[in-house]
Each structure stands twice: as C-alpha cells, then as structure tokens.
Amino acid sequence: MSLNRERFLKTTAGAAAGVAAGASGMHIAFGADYSPIGTFPAGTQGDSVFLGLMCPLTGSYSADGEDLRRGYVLALEDLNNGTGVMGKIPSLAGKKGLLGKKVAYKIADSETNPNTAVQHATEFITQNKAIMISGGVATSEVIAMGKVAQQQKVLFMTGASGSNDTTGKDCQRYMFRSQCDAYMVAAAITPILAKALGTKRKAIYLTPDYSYGHSLANSMKEFTEKIGWTTVADVVAPFPSSDYSSYLTNIANSSADTFINIEFGNDGVASTKQAAQFGILKKMQLVVPNISTYFPDGVGSDIMGGVYGTQEWFYRLADIYPLSKVFFDEYEKKFPGIIPRWTGHIAYTQVALWADAVARAKTFHPPTVIETLEAGHPIDLMLGTVHYRAGDHQLVRPVPVVVGKKHVDMANKEDWFKIVDVVPADKVMQPLAGTSCKMPSYT
C-alpha cells in the first residue's frame, strides 16, 4: 500500500513539477509533498475550508435525513469551537477549527434521489471547491456520490448506507463508510434471533428493489439459513413505494411465521402499518434488521413491542460509552426537546473521523488524509474505540442489537428499545477476502 502511495506521489509530483515549471510554479508554494489534486489546494487557500453536505430532507428517507442534518450542524459547531465530542479527541482538543481554518459548510436537499445528490455534490465541488463532501441516507445516493468523489478526487465520508456494495463492489478510494454494513447487521442479530425465536423459523422478506435492499436481504438469508431457518420468499417491491397491498397480499397468504421487513424510512413505516392492516403482524413475528431512525415513532409501541432489530446507535448507549453521553448532552443543548437518532450520530462520527485524520496528517491533501485514515489509527468515539479498515474503507465498529419495548415498559416516550447486546467488531466484520472490493487508485 505505502509503496503504491510513494510511487504515486513521485510520479504525480514529477508530472506536476514539469507542468508547474512551465507555468506558474504554483504547487511549490504549497510544499513539494502535496501535488494539486481534486479541490486541493484551491479549496484550502482562504482562511476557511468548505464542506458540501447532502441530506435527504424530502422523499422517502426525509425523517432520517433531518436527523443527519442536525448531526452535521452540531459536528461543525463543535469542530469550529473546540467543544463537545470534538473537544475530547486528542488531535482536536484545545483547537478551534481545523489546521487553523474555520470549517464552513452548506447543506443541500438530496431528495432521497441519487441524481439530485450527485447534482449537489458536483456543484459543491466545482463551485465551492469543497475539500470534503458527506451525506446521503439511501445507498443509491451514497454509491452515486462515491463515484463522483472518486472521479473528482475529493474525499467523501458517507451518510447512512447499509449495503455491502458500498464497501464492496462499489468501494472507492475516496469514500469511507461508518455505518455497519448488511453483513455486520446479519452477523450480529442472527445468534440473538436464534436464542429468542428458535432455529426452526420460516421467514418471508419484504425488500426494496435496490442495492441496500438486496444486500441486507441476502445477508439475512445467508446467516439465518445457517442456523436452520428457511426462506419462504423474498418479496421485492419498487423503491420507493407507497401502496404495498399487492406485496403484502403475497406475504399474508404465505406459510411463513416470521416477517423480515427490509424496507427503510417512510417506506418501512408505511409497509409495516399496512402489514398490520393485513393481519400479518398477528400471525407472524416481525423482525426489522435495520430499524430506521423514526420507525418506532411511525408505527407506535403496539407494533414495536418485541420487534428485534439493530440500531446503528441508540441514545441509551450513553450509559455504556462516555462520549455517547457527551454527544447526547450537546445535542440536547443545541436542539432542545429532540433526542438524537442514529443518522445524526453518523453525521457527527464521519466529520470527527475526517477532522481527526486531517489534524493528524497536518494537511487537507486528500491522498495523505486517505492514507492517514487507512493506517487504522484507533480513535475513541461514541461507540468506543473504532478505526477504518484499509482494504474496503469500512469502519471497524460494534453493532448494537435491540428489541422493541412494550408501551408499559417504556420509561419515557423515547425509550423505545432495550439494548440486548452490543456485539463487538471482531464478531461481525466480514473478512476482507469476502468483500468484492477492488480498491481504485488515488488518481
């Protein structure tokens, strides 16, 4: 890896020197180590750098996008003031901003739509010279922006994305993903499902027809079939959808005893509520492997009670991890009356991981920052100690498995889940050889 990197630096530096000698010699002013690439150094010449952030504030995943937005707002405020969790990270502690520069940002509505997401990402890169972009909640948005990032040589820290493809066949040198992938979710939840529901279940799936849906359904099938479950059918619905009746008719009239709903965001809420109308939840156990941020609020505690799933992060983790407590308290102060959800946690985490890498690399130069992230330096954050894996840019992190509480067991109106287990990273990470990631080059 470092050999490639050295060779890359030498060749590009050489080429750039050749060009520069004939032209302005600009790159020399920025140190011979860091040849111009992407928006570097153009985006770092003022007294501030710019981040382009894409949040789906409308469309199927808008509720999750809204929390993502709040996470970014808090993260950037903390970064620029040296407060909150940012102030507890050794490389950032006692500093305001990043490398002496203010970190400016804009948030655009990606509309849960890959085309819109790409359009905004491109605008931020070309017009605002964004030094880093981040965001997206649908994997389709994230994978599309990852391609832009790779092409434009600008770092992209993903928003929410649960497909194996994001760090698998669609992995990019310039893209890093902090959310657990489908494999990790399935690996974490399956032993708990076996214990709670037994090993003789007949499962039926409702799956949104795109990368995230297929990836999570396939991982769940793979793991549950290993413990003895059978898959009755995988009912695939278009993404997004609003009326699930024809798909639910299939499910209601199947022989399954377990309904595994892969749908997410508003689609997850709508399909689950409609499933209740079809009497499905009375005759089948509901499992939602990846529970979207406002799913419990949408379906209510009557449906939520006894539902197994995972949460990328849940605020009660503040009882376990000190920095989760700091994050929770800061968020509450910034947004009174709103409890942070896990997309907000992702936004904060991704900005923190990037800022820490920049601070330790002492430059915004993207290949150098990437190399710093790939070095896998452990960092303490809201889920304990985490680090990025070089081979596929997946964050090595634990997976919280939860079960929905019945109304009578809820201590307050946000107390939706009991945390069954926080499964450590070494039990859930897919071996690198199993991912289909062929990491593209720096250039």
Partner: protein, 286 residues
C-alpha cells in the same frame, strides 16, 4: 392466494379509476390535457388531512377535500385554464405542468416535506376474514366509496341538464351559446368537478399511502396509463382501465413481485399498438 390478489387488484384499481376519471372528464369534455391533476390529488389530501386531524372526523375531512378542491378548481380555471382551451396541447401541458410544480412547492413550503401518516377512520380499522385469507377493512370500504362516487358522477354527467349542456358544448360551443346558454360557466363547473374528484381521491387514498407533497406524482403517471388503456375521454374506459391496471399489478405480483409495475407499462404499450384508441375509446374522438 390468487383470489386474494384478484380482490386486491379491484381495490388498487378503484382508486386509480377515480383519479383517472377526473383526468378523462377534463380531457374528454374540455379537451384539456391536465398535468396538474396529481397536484389536485395532493391538495385534496392535505386539506382533508388537516380537518381530519383537527376534528377527528374522517367524513368531515372527506367533505373538506371535496369542497376545497372544487374551489381550487374554480379559481384555477378562471385565472388560468380558461385561456388555454383553444391553445395547442403542448401549451396546455406546459401550463398545467408549471401549475403542478407551483402547487407542490407551495404545500412543501407551508407543511414541509415530511410524510404525514394518516390513521384509518375508526370504522375502517382491522381486517376482514374472507374465505381463507384476510383483507384490510378500509380497502374494501374504499371500493364502496369509489363505486358510489362513480355513480354520482355518472348521474351528473349523463342524467342532468348540466351534463347535456357540456356534451352539446363540446360538439358545438357556438350553437349552444346562440341558444342563450353560458358555455363558459359550464366549462368552469366541469373543470372544478374534475378537480374535486381528484381531491376526493387524495383524501380517500391518504390512510393507505400517507400524505406528502409528492404523493400526486406517482398516481398521476399511473392514472395516465389507466386513461390510455381504458380509452381517452371515456367514462366507462376510466373504470375498466383502472380495474385492468390494478389487476395487472396485483396478479403479476403474485408470481413475480419485481415485475408488477413493469407489466403495467407493457400492457399500455400493447394497447397503444393493438388498439390505439384504448379498450373503450372511440376512434377519432380524442
């Protein structure tokens, strides 16, 4: 299972038929291509949803949707649409498409982009056991509501003086005017009636699909497909087209869920090739 899907096809198709009916009335009687129909559907849903959540009465919500959409229809027709009856279809498409954007973005500016869940009315909760399968009660009731609405619309258009004037006015507006009848006002009423039906469909569909600013977009596309399948401008065609479309989606889903929507467009293409005027359309009418 196939019986369950056949029933579901009727339920799905009935909503489509109602939306398509509004489209086909406006096109068939006024000759206006209305791309704002999805927005009227959405406006009705929002108006009904607000009253429903404020008062707790779904019936009041439905009545509000109907009346509010009717008023919106009258205003829009007077200030905008009436200047476009004699304009070429591309002008009509542009102006109604623009109107669609204005309405959707206005609602988004007022209520935000979030999806608002709408509970089923108290008399529509739960599921009904039919033979060996269960089916949501509200969806069955929707079929009844739609059937009733269609019957009323048929009476208005084919058994009243208004309907007579409209149909005469379409054939020869000049003669009807000479007979001392105000065709302009009749056209206004017909347009508002089409909009009111769209608004009604919106609030009826709201407990099933929830309310959000773009909710009309999907249904608009599908209801155009229904109109094409059923026959442009045909009252019976809208109903038949709706049911056929609902059955195609539902029955395909029983065998191959991921092809349900695709088959809808395949069916439309087949109709356009084999019977361009639609199943119940009359050649040259449109």
């Amino acid at each position: 299972m196939i019986e369950a899907q056949l029933l579901n096809g009727v339920a799905l198709g009935s909503i489509l038929a109602l939306v398509a009916l509004g489209l086909t009335i406006i096109f068939g009687l006024l000759g206006l291509v209305n791309f704002a129909h999805g927005a009227f559907f959405m406006v009705g849903a929002y108006a009904g949803w607000i009253v429903y959540t404020q008062t707790g009465s779904f019936v009041l919500g439905v009545a509000t949707a109907l009346v509010f959409a009717f008023i919106v229809g009258i205003v829009v027709e007077r200030v905008l649409i009436r200047f476009y009856y004699k304009r070429p279809p591309e002008d009509q498409i542009l102006v109604t498409f623009g109107l669609n954007i204005v309405l959707v973005e206005t609602v988004r500016a007022i209520f935000g982009g979030k999806t608002q869940l709408v509970p089923s009315p108290s008399w529509g909760q739960g599921a009904v056991q039919i033979a060996d399968f269960v089916y949501p009660q509200y969806r069955l009731e929707v079929v009844g509501i739609v059937a009733l609405t269609l019957a009323v619309m048929w009476l208005i258009l084919f058994k009243t003086r208004l309907g007579l004037i409209v149909r005469a006015g379409i054939d020869d507006a000049l003669i009807v005017n000479i007979l001392g009848i105000n065709v302009n006002r009749t056209f206004m009423l017909v347009f508002a009636l089409g909009v009111a039906v769209a608004g009604l469909s919106g609030i009826i569909d709201a407990p099933i699909v929830a309310v959000y600013p773009d909710m009309g977009t999907d249904i608009l596309v599908q209801s155009f497909v229904v109109v094409v399948i059923g026959g442009v401008g045909s009252f019976a065609g809208a109903i038949l087209g709706g049911i056929v479309a609902g059955e195609i989606v539902s029955v395909t889903t029983a065998f191959a869920p991921d092809y349900g929507q695709v088959m809808l467009y395949v069916a439309m293409a087949l109709v356009l090739i084999l019977r361009p005027q639609g199943l119940l359309g009359v050649e040259g009418r449109a």
